[in-house]
Amino acid sequence: MEQPEIERQSMEVDIACVGFGPAMGGFLTTLARHLTGESGQPPLESKAMPGMPLQVLCYERADDIAFGVSGVVTRARGIRASFPELKPEEIPMACEVRHEKTVYLLDPIGASRRGAALRVLDALVRPLAGRRMAVELPYTPPFLRKHGGLILSIGQFNQWVGNQLMAGGAVQIWPGTPVEKALIEDHRVVGVRLADQGVERDGSPTPAFLPGMDVRASLTVVGDGPVGPVGRQLDEVFGMPEDHHRGHWAVGMKMVVELPESCDLPEGTVIHTFGFPEPEIFGFLYVMPGRLASLGVFVPSFLDSPVRTTYRYLQHWMRHPYLWRWLEGGTMRSWGAKTLAEYGKQGEPYLVGDGYARIGEGSGSTNVLTGSGVDEAWTTGVQLAEGVVELLRRGQPFTRENLAAEYERRRRESWVESEGRVAEHARDGFTRGFLAGLIGMGLTGLTGGRWHPKAVRKPMPTLEEFCKGRLTAGEVSRLRREATEKGVPLHDLVMDALGWPRIEHDGKLLVSHQDALLLGGKVQAPAGFADHVVFLYPNLCEECSPQLCVEICSGQAITPNPEGGTPLFDREKCVHCGACLWSCPTPTPEGVSNVSFRAGAGGLHSAEN
């Protein structure tokens, strides 16, 4: 049924920006220098408001610009090019990378999935692993090294950048303001529509209804990340370039931990792990100033477990003897999760079109070989700003051709592009198995991308297939019944049955998932917005089991419906990681997922992630 037309406020600006992350930080920082005259040239003038400076507005979904989440270790080439005098101590929680280790973790429990080849490898390296059950690699390949780079808290970095921008007064950043969609007229993006406020969970108006405003702009800059609704809308409307697709994803879940006084890891230490809790799960631990550590794991979409739970895997990873010796007695200060665009350049969309340009992670800038995304994202923002300034100085419109000439060209000629090409297929081997993936990644890096593995498409195994040889069909059926009766996800029951020990909570670092939300993520949801997770076809959910959206949910916001069918969604627990969107295995007539992940406010409220 057609919705009745709602009368909306509208305003004109010059540039409307969607999402404030490192890419937008790079864009606005570079642009602002040309708006204040700091660049040495006359400030740029507004066309939307003649006589005024260029009107640049940025809308961010989260309730504060400091509420991002990422574990950042970066070479910081782009960031340092923007801030040549940068001293890490200017940014809270930042420091220089001084020590790097790559570590293979063996399974001290015996519960992880390890194929025959990996078991042979484990047996071979076991004598080197000692009681810590880990082997420190004697050599870190150059493509992984970040020595001399920076360890950052993305929340603090974004806040640091945002404060400088606001102090300059040239651009405005508005957190707590989700953008519903791009306004598209005649194949041209003409601005954005903000999300409606004063509505019920189902979107129906309340007496406080405030229709989302239309912000019309001659240029819309889209940097809303890998699961942002505006970027995905543009993909749907304009399609993807030939052979580009988004097959690889991951959930990154992290904590900021106050390390115990006994911990002797020096500031600037970077540890990357692989091999445990499942072979494909990579982990990181970065030591920041003030005895703080940023640590976490990545659960990739190619992990063929239909009951994957990032939170429990994170806890088992922390309890590994190699890491626990440093973490025992520590205290969680912060927690969070996000989706990572592991597709990198493979999933690069059209970077420009009439009236719009795309920057950052959602534009395929993440380098999946070097495991680096923030600096690349920042640099794409800088490149766009340089192009935009050029077009404004020449008085040229923001057409696809002009933006391609001034932004896309800069990007194609830069290290972001050349290194992104090398990395493009680096992770494809993981679709064939862990060892194939590891070898493929190594060879891709060492040959500069000249050789890379080929991906295979495998459907997610059923729970019965996943448990084959370890649990009988009858046991799996019993677990399914138990989960339904209790109204809980399957993952804990299955992991318990597969031999994973229960996590003993210490109330400080090892806490329940809900306490991680409350104490670490400080998750909140402001009233007056519609639910941003909607299940489109209840009948498709009815037939789905296990429901991967429930299993993967980083905040336990999506839970099984005791009455069956569509899962339940609790907005107040959602961290907006978006894993439900790409984990849903059920295509719909309109798209690849039965989960509609829309614009929404709230989420994490920690400034330390």
Binding site: D64, I65, A167, Q172, L210, V215, S512, D515, S606, A607
Partner: protein, 269 residues
Amino acid sequence: MSNGYHIVVCGSLVPDPLQALEPVTTPDGPALKNESMLPSVLDPWAAHALYEAAHLAKTVPGSKVWLVSLGPKAKLQQLMMTVAQKAPFEFVAVDGSASGFTDSFETAQALAKAIESIAGLDRQRLLLFGGCSSASRDAGTTVGMVGALLGIEEQFLAVDEIVPQEDGSFRVKERVEGAQYLVSECAGAPAVLAWATGNLPEPPNNPQVGMTNMRTIMPALAKAQPAGNLRGSLRFESVETPTQRRETRVVKDAGIDEIARELADWIRG
């Protein structure tokens, strides 16, 4: 009322209570650890005052709202990103500590001075709004002292409602002991209203309002005057946060008796 009210809201930032707050001792006295890196929010009591002021100004034609904030300039600027879309106001900034480890009287003096210097403010039409309490300086005395310093005798504390009348007078509902309300009639401005929670929900973010406010916010921040020493002769013996331990369980369909019993057991230890 023909000319409307001139409503000055005293309200500043407090550290976002969701963050990890830890008091530390510095050479200048107590402070919060890493205060500069903590996001801030508008003091919730002052926020109610601001929303009520905006509503009153909309109700009574000719009225105008100023928001006077005393806080570190850089933090005020960040705060405005989350406040400026909520309600229309003209911003007046005073650069000084908002840590809460300050003397209420010194703070009141700095605020009164800032209010006295507002160009175009008609003191006969002045309604001074603020929180009846504060999330960081919970003495509950500051706005009353600002009023006293400005010579305003009509003061109402813990206000939940103001109903303006045609003749410029207004009716005020104040919270008093025992969950009771005291309803008073006031002949009109000038008056001090220290707000409890009021009755209004947090307004939605209105981008148009934000754009308009921003035109006064940046100049106000640029010319913010330093507040000077706000600690006066105040000395703190010790500062600590209450200990807390959280053990959340998700329990569905628990009965009232069961919940009450568990709480009682927990209190008994």
